[in-house]
């Protein structure tokens, strides 16, 4: 980060290479392609432009990047769909997750397509799973990013991962 702060383009290119694909994969689960590209671009260019102000002793750079992208996803979704992404309704994803899982498991096509199963997860389960699996964030970081408690974040991650596992375990005989 010091090299980025000093205006080292090669260091910034490495930063883009390390975090860009992960951030884009996460944003792509919630935004259309153009919006996801813009969200990631804004976050990374923001780092480049303001790197000299960054104090690594106070927070991890990646926390900043993920915070910006997650917030952009939430904001755009909320504007478009009036998505009730409330930080306090931690339990509300639980039943909807089961419903989503049932729907996913009911369709043979979705069973064969992990991407479709991921897309069928409730938004916060999906975000928690993406942050954990693709973004390599800890449960504690995810809790902070989503505005939930750590146990709630762990529950979101576990439920999502169990759903994907169940879908992958399902035999392909649904295609008969």
């Amino acid at each position: 980060m010091r090299a980025v702060a000093a205006g080292d383009e090669r260091a910034f290119r490495r930063l883009v290479g390390r975090h860009g694909p992960k951030l884009r994969a996460i944003a792509g689960q919630f935004l259309d392609a153009g919006e996801a590209d813009d969200a990631v671009q804004d976050a990374l260019i923001g780092v480049w432009r303001h790197a000299s102000r960054f104090d690594p002793s106070k927070a991890a750079l990646s926390t900043w990047l993920y915070r910006i992208v997650v917030n952009r996803c939430i904001d755009i979704r909320r504007q478009r769909f009036r998505w009730p992404w409330s930080p306090i309704d931690e339990a509300e994803d639980v039943p909807s997750g089961d419903i989503a899982a049932d729907r996913a498991l009911a369709g043979a096509e979705a069973l064969r397509d992990v991407g479709a199963v991921i897309a069928s997860l409730p938004p916060r389960q999906r975000m928690a799973l993406m942050l954990a699996t693709v973004g390599d964030r800890t449960a504690e970081e995810i809790a902070a990013l989503l505005g939930v408690t750590r146990p709630a974040a762990e529950q979101l991650i576990a439920r999502a991962r169990r759903t994907i596992r169940a879908a992958m375990r399902e035999p392909a005989d649904g295609s008969d």
């Binding site: 106070k58 917030n71 991650i157």
Partner: protein, 134 residues
């Protein structure tokens, strides 16, 4: 650690034991050494995690190019600004600077970066405080 606890941890922490908290990873490795079925479970969750990453992967070469081009544009803009500072009269320079500041302010507002940084500040402390930004 028993199998139920190991499975619960796997669902939360994923199939890469290197990313688990050290004490829990050590306990899991001891359990894995003694339980064949747990090893199969670990491999299954590793496959799940690999599938999630593969299913959501997006080619980003074009995006990376856009980002780097934007940073280079900023650099060249700075160089150009330096050239103008050296080669035009002071009065004209003042006009250019005022116009540049106006453009810059408008751009920041357009992408909503200020709001994002404000939120980042709320999470990460004052390392990203808007007060410290130019």
């Amino acid at each position: 650690m028993d199998r139920t606890e190991f499975e619960d941890k796997l669902m939360i922490l994923g199939g890469d034991l290197n990313r688990w908290p050290p004490a829990e990873a050590e306990a899991a490795r001891r359990f894995l050494a003694a339980d064949n079925e747990s090893r199969a479970l670990l491999e299954e969750v590793q496959a799940v995690d690999d599938a999630i990453r593969s299913a959501t992967e997006v080619p980003v070469a074009a995006l990376a190019g856009r980002i780097m081009a934007a940073t280079q544009k900023r650099t060249s803009d700075s160089i150009l600004a330096g050239h103008w500072r050296r080669s035009i009269p002071a009065g004209a320079l003042a006009i250019v600077l005022v116009a540049s500041i106006g453009f810059k302010t408008g751009y920041d507002g357009g992408i909503g970066l200020a709001e994002d940084l404000e939120l980042a500040t709320a999470i990460a402390g004052d390392a990203f405080s808007l007060d410290t930004l130019p």
